[in-house]
Symmetry: D2
Subunit: 440 residues, 4 copies
């Protein structure tokens, strides 16, 4: 039984500025999830950050008096070998690539965003091949491990593993659903353990279709309260208010990323304006990260600095550690994760990834039947964006130009063949070194 | 929130010999499920039994020191009004009707059984109209109540409520899945809380496709142990041993009722032989019940008599009380119940009842995605028997002869048009007073 | 058998400028389709046009020596009573309404088009209630009649009849697919009887996925020829050239209306420019129609004037008359029509309308299994636009604001909640007298 | 274009007694289907029959004055090379094997039949590997050829090619549907060209759900006439009368082979009785064939002898030649054939074979949407028998004992695990030399 094992966790992209968040979570839950070895793996280009973050992590563990060994490595395979969990949080091409992802669509008057639209498409093309390489290592070195995927665009990346990962067990994670739950709790002034939400959709495009407070359905009341509320958002997304009429019509709360669709024009204006002042979101994050790493270097720092919370990954650690704990302890609680659809959302193909509530046990994530069948509006949006995602997975895996062009052309935030072609050509040119699959 | 309510439970068919089992369960869980009022309702013909059982129930509650009021009534509507749970366990036509159900098919050389095949078909025709009457009362008098249906054939009866109950919330129950879990626990010498099984199928025709012990998959080992084991059975079904080759081929454990299919010839022989010696199973049960009621009359008896366990309903109370508790406390544990399919078993229609694992919370039962997709063998059997069940629901609701004939003709234990017609005609003739829908 | 009947055809909107086209077709096929009575029905506001067109029709029949009685009526029920075919070609609100439909979206910088996007949405809201009224008449007065629906948006209108027409037999028609066939024939210099095309999609959003010339697949060659070809278009749609790279990626020819999606920006520019010079397309058509009616008045005119072909309805008559002929003669040839999906396009709901190849016999239209399963690109586009259409049918039938808002918001040519709301409010205000379902 | 080609047909199993039937058909249609070369291929064991039949065929062609070369060969590859059509009508194991197939189930009190039940199962195990070998030859030597499969069990064999034939184009054929059409024509005294029937199901298990006479639905009248009619049967199946009540309930005419299900007991009695008198059907056929070959030897015989019609393959030639003609001439008429389901029968998997109406053109067979959705009775029977067929295909291809056991156990004419195991073991033992896939 897993519980008897000495736990080993491998974090790919371990030099990330988010790592102290994760380490804090592991420390807090150590009694339930007694991690023996935490491997932080990164690439040569990230060596310095890895060492800074690794040293901080060790100070944090020591301060907490927790016997968790923290190992730093540039050899991914060493980290993966025999691991129980492999968490992926790397960023192929670093923030420079993200900045390009945000700028290219803007050139053509379109939204450029890290995960949504043409920006996320570019990120997917770069990331999927690396993720599938990691899968090969896992199959060889840790075939029973769960790959917990945080790398964005998490839905596409998880789907690539489900389809092409050769059987590697994977679960995709996002901090957005837990954020909604926490905000409901705050809105009603209750403990979040009393709140249940039903999420329907895919990563970064899902709706909260039902809200329960201590077993009682408060969805209608909640939607009235949520209209105009700017609290229900993410750090990295402008928090424009939701229109009450829209929420009433939808009978559901869109997620933060829905603003790029429902409020496309305002979002675009804001983005273009920022581009001319502070630069892309990547540029902003880059500066935040530099400041964070300066803090991390302080040899007296031995807890997660509060500034990290400004970075945007609220509850990231909570989500990751809760998931590992429920698998490890066979807990059977309900969490919102990215998994294979297999009939849960009846109008999407079986083999795609979806983001829904699932029971988590030693065997992984087991999605629950939906209690609210989404209507045609939600259905249509999910279907077209999922079709884009499926094409993107194929394009990323096979390096096929025509498939890539089909993908970008139907994305609702691109929409025309001419823009799709121009953007695709720019992406391929500017990411050439990261996209060998397209240049063989 | 439900937890604040004063709980009222209505038991339709409250005069059943099983009632002390249920009462014992309610007493044991009183701290979690503080039932204020337990209404036992029955019909005039059952008045005497109701009074005997009711008196015993009161002595049991008093002995246990539990402040649960036990009310007896011949007015079903009084019992239902404002109830939180309405449990149905009645037997339309009493054991006399069951005896006929078992004899009629035997006349034509076919298996006659309470729930499976032509016997269960007759029981369904009698029961469905009464159940739908109860639904009308619930909609009027207790619209928020859960109808917990134990009345056999539970799958068909539950499906009738799902399709024609006008929105009454219902969950169908059976003690068979929990029985398997308990037997696994016994076989491995562990506490049953460490055992998880995955059930796939419909009521009285389901397979255990996965067995976990403390999070570890032991299915293959279990199937080897289960072959030849006569322990894995039900009190009311001859416990013929499973063939090791069959279990290996199926990669799953059939349920006890599968013996009527996989071992049809032996089961039929045994049944015909018994018919000539001790009579039908109904005849045997009748005598057991008479003995039980003699015991129940004893004014000094204030606990459930151990002889009740010989009756066949092991874990019946456990199943019922656990379900009510999880709904009442919004517990979110996993139980095996009969619910609307809605895509969980992809090859059965959405609107039929299936018996699978589900999370139970204040909102009811939420089935889990299957982890093992059944192969063509299980699929084919389920599809043909479910088609029979769907036709039976239609025939029972609309009183349509042609539909009834279609139903019986495709049941694998009937199979020919001539036998179906002869049996149907006998059923209609001998149950005329209970089948007004066919004689208008 | 139908063939023995004396044929009666009712044309609702009989005063249309297109009617001479239809009459010409009926005359040409009279030997196969011996129409006894042709009823042209219109409303009071169209009396003058009806009389002009009716007189021309009579002169045409007389000139051709064909014993087809042409009756004019303002009483729709008189026309429908006992009819074999009821053809609908009316325009609720006349060209004035169409002009508004084209102007409203333009106000918000969006495409305004008769059938596609927000313009078609407004037309659907006005038309569906009238069509369902006609269905009521058909059910009462000509229950065996086929309703042949040419009224745009034909896909939505046909779907409304399929869902809410109370069983009226209906087939939706469009001249676009036959146009492609004709253009293939022209391109290859062959008779069109040698050309077969496979159409996949819905009305005004379908792809030609396969082209056969005398039984040989020439799809790839055809797509190469079609790129850049401006011939493959419709009179009422700017004939921008298709990009060769797009056709290669799609492996299919988009239909003319696809330009509003794939070339949205160019189409919008062109539209806005025209709006400031010649006005809306409706304004242009209005002038063309006035000129046509001037011609029609000429008592010496007894054939269809060649100027009618400039109007945009090429092959309209061919499509209508071929369909009636194949039904009447039980011909079993293949035509491209709008029918209930029922599994033909596996990723669309069963009950929606689709536009595909079907065998036409006395029983109606029987769609053929697709030989090319569309990929994710075509799938995604069809799914989101069909979801819009389903919502539009519901909004049009029930007059529900929230559903209407959901519909417009997901249309790819609208896309944002704010634009959807503004346009919807304008549509309701400016069409109030035609939309009683929204103002009760 | 195919029409320009010099046609070559290969007949695998060309020495069959049916061949003169086929040759007669080819002669009759020579003007439409000008076959240049007819290759009759057989194995060494069939050399004598091949020579007899080949000589007769040549005399027939000569007599008819038709320039069709008839070539005889023991080299299958020579026959296949460059062929346009490859017709398979061989019998692996000859009539001796069929006789065993009929005897083995009878040993256990079950029906033994050439295509239905355990007998057909054995035939499938022997035939599928040979058919897939032929597919390999076709892929190599005649990749554009259509394989027309008459070899029984035609549904299973066709499905094996669809799933494992590596893309070989195949259509499965049966003379049963055309037989029903002819019998309807006879019953109503009309030419069969006026009759249309709708067939729903799979090979040897399909229902006629709609009958049209000159475009008018006469289904109800026809079913009344068909009850009791022993005419609607096949030469090789006892022609027990249909019960009027059953046909009324089904609202469809079962096919001749349905008697093995609906009248299982009578069919079994008849079979067991015959077994003790004249032997198996194979034994009877063997004698008929010997007599036929004696006739064929007559050097003066130069037409198909009328005695052949007693053999049971009425319309066999008609079916084969009509199909080839429609493909060759791109005719687009409707024929009933075995093809990939792909959504036509919504409740069966996409990739299985079904027997339904299809338009035949140069591209092959294109099934039509059903006009009558079958109810749960037909659905359930089709699903369980198709599940048996799917398992049989897998067992035949992979030689897997467990899959074979699962297949036989769920066949409605076997039903119990013990009988399935006993029969399977007998089949494997007695067909060992034909089943290398099971003995590796």
């Amino acid at each position: 039984m897993m519980k008897q094992k000495e736990l080993k966790i491998a974090v790919i992209g371990g030099g990330s500025s988010y790592t102290p968040e994760l380490v804090e979570g592991l420390i807090k839950r150590f009694s339930e999830l007694p991690v023996k070895q935490l491997y932080l793996a990164d690439i040569e280009a990230g060596r310095e950050k890895l060492e800074i973050v690794g040293a901080l992590a060790r100070r944090m563990a020591e301060k907490a008096g927790v016997p968790m060994e923290i190992k730093l490595t540039l050899d991914r395979r060493e980290a993966i070998e025999g691991a129980d969990f492999v968490a992926t949080q790397m960023r192929v091409g670093l923030l420079e690539a993200r900045s390009r992802d945000e700028r290219i669509p803007a050139r053509y008057g379109l939204i450029g965003q890290e995960t949504t639209g043409a920006g996320g498409f570019a990120k997917a093309l770069r990331t999927v091949p690396v993720i599938l390489d990691i899968c090969r290592d896992i199959r060889e070195l840790a075939p029973d491990a769960f790959m917990l995927n945080f790398t964005n665009p998490a839905g596409i990346v998880t789907e690539a593993v489900l389809k092409y990962g050769g059987g590697v067990k994977t679960i995709g994670l996002c901090n957005l659903p837990i954020g909604i739950r926490m905000q409901v709790a705050e809105l009603y002034g209750v403990d979040d353990s009393l709140v249940d939400i039903e999420t329907v959709g895919i990563n970064h495009l899902n709706w909260t279709t039902r809200v329960h407070l201590d077993g009682v359905d408060i969805t209608t009341d909640f939607l009235e309260k949520a209209a105009g509320s700017s609290g229900l958002t993410m750090k990295n997304i402008p928090d424009l208010d939701w229109d009450a009429g829209l929420l009433k019509a939808l009978k559901a709360l869109p997620c933060a990323y829905h603003r790029y669709y429902y409020m496309r024009d305002e979002m675009l204006s804001e983005q273009l304006e920022k581009l001319h002042t502070v630069g892309t979101r990547a540029d902003v994050v880059k500066q935040v990260e530099e400041e964070l790493f300066e803090l991390y270097k302080d040899p007296d720092l031995n807890v997660k600095p509060s500034q990290l919370e400004q970075r945007g990954g609220a509850y990231y650690s909570e989500v990751a550690v809760r998931l590992m704990t429920s698998i490890y302890t066979n807990k059977k609680d309900i969490q919102t994760v990215n998994v294979r659809n297999n009939g849960i959302i009846s109008f999407l193909p079986d083999e795609v990834s979806i983001e829904v509530n699932a029971v988590i046990d030693a065997d992984g994530a087991h999605p629950l039947q939906l209690t609210r069948t989404p209507g045609a509006h939600i259905r249509g949006m999910l279907q077209v964006v999922k079709a884009y995602e499926e094409l993107t997975v194929e394009a990323a895996v096979h390096g096929d130009y025509d498939t890539a062009l089909q993908a970008l052309t139907i994305h609702p935030l691109v929409g025309t063949a001419a823009a799709a072609k121009a953007i695709l050509d720019d992406i391929l040119t500017e990411n050439r070194s990261y996209l060998p699959q397209f240049f063989q």
